[in-house]
Amino acid sequence: MKAKLLHGGFELVRRHRVLAVVLFLLVFPLLMPYKALAINILIFGLFAVGFNLLFGYTGLLSFGHAAFLGVGSYLTGISMVHFALPWGLALLIGVVAAGLVGLVIGYLAIRTRGIYFSMVTLALAQIVYYAFYKAEQWTGGENGLRGIQVPAMELFGHRFDFIDPTTKYYVILVFVALALWLVSRVLASPFGAVIEAVRENEKRAAACGYDVARTKLLVFVISALICGLAGSLRALHLSVVPIESLHYLLSGQAVMMCLLGGMGTFFGPFVGAAVFLTLEDVVTTITRNWMAVVGGVFMACVLFFPAGLWGTLVKRAERVVRL
């Protein structure tokens, strides 16, 4: 009887997973010591969700996703700083630009397979890094892009004060919720089944009649669009775009967050982002050498908890329900 209730509850949450996550995120700021961390987790959670679509669900390990976050940030920033475009249009431009870069990088990277893929995506993302680094008049080079002003936003006829952290959080949450809904739809769609098939067994998927390369490319672009959105939101949040946004270490952070949380689960990336950023926050107060701690925790996860925190929880719960 208990198992049946649990099973039913489980199914309910699974079918309405977007709603469940959004409800959680609505109260999330109340759990966090300060709002800036909550906003950061929201943005990087979205970044990790976009990355997870490619890594957890399709099985492609990209080490160049910072390119999409960075392009989203920079193009949004450049639109506003150099072209005085309104934030809404700038956001759209950032997202579309990230998608286009995703198309190019994806096309080249997908021509390789497995092991090569990680190396190629890293190297191609470095091109984007160097390009933006050198284009100083547009990007500010080493010092980053500054001066992205968003004092207030007009949304649905309301005027929101964007400077107040709480308002900022909830406005960003609107976009994140939309993106999550889209990701959920894609995963539940026929295409979602094709993604799964490609991850499980490429040869078999091709024998069934699915164009594996095209499928991968499409997921790559969707992933890039989502990460681009995270980048655009980040630019609006920070009012600056640091050059580190395009750096390989940020790509690595996406990987870490996904693994820590649980790749191939819907909520895992958020958990991973929260754990990673909170850990970084806490550890930096204790020691300067937080990278070693996080690196060590990550290695421990790879060795002992490959399903990640949330992933392991989900697996345990599933086992209980089945009994």
């Binding site: 990680s118 190396m119 890293l122 070693a292």
Partner: protein, 293 residues
Amino acid sequence: MEITPSLLAMQLMTGVALGAIYALLALGLSLIFGMLTVVNFAHGAFFMVGAFIGLYFLGLTGNFWFSLVLTPLVVGAIGLVVERFLVRPLYGRGIDYPLLLTFGLSWVLIEAMRVLFGVEGLPSSTPPILRGAIDLGFGYFPKYRLFLIFATAVVVFALWLFLEKTRYGLIVRAGSRDGEICKVLGVDIARVWLVVFGIGTAIAGLSGALAAPTRAVNPEMGVHVLAESFVVTVVGGMGSLPGAVVAGLLVGVVFSMTSLFAPAYAELSIFVLMALVLLVRPQGLFGKAGLMG
């Protein structure tokens, strides 16, 4: 600036010297991949550790040659420990896990160097014996860079001797093609993996020690180098040792030639080269077509 043949020749030589380091790095990477099917994302970090340790031993003993011998031994030893306790548990799991682990390891190594040697890095200079330049006929070329080329040639030759002429080298070559054969022949394949990983990281450490006099030595130096060594392995073909050497030299030359004609695009040029190779011949110059599609 006038482009004369001697200027071109000088730039070519500079490219070869740069390429020598790339070749060494790619050799280590390809060796580890060919034998263990592991992409060592900590390879740049081992390079960086080698640079630091090389300078440390140089400071300790005052002898450059000592440091060149000791550094690969120390870095290789670290590699042995890493393979035995961190990478080996992951072999059954899937091709991404060792990669992920070495990535995490790189963070720890970078931080370790920060703790041991400071965030600023160490000052490096050319050892007195190898200072100055030699007249090559078309210009004066730094002695140290010539030494780099020579040292790389020695390492490549030594590796070739080991792989082609020794019994153990035969096992390594056979094992890279078919691990099962080794098991059948009663060879402890785990021991072979251990040794190969150690050799690969030792070479990375050595290349770091060799490169130290030519660049800034700081904890971040391995990050760019990692991307560059990936470019070399993609261009040459992953797992191919001749590919690593040829592609390393090619990438070095492309970089230095672009520095001459369009200096702003020098770093970009090698990535463009990689993109071209991906379009035209995705398996790399010496790679086997089977790895692709």
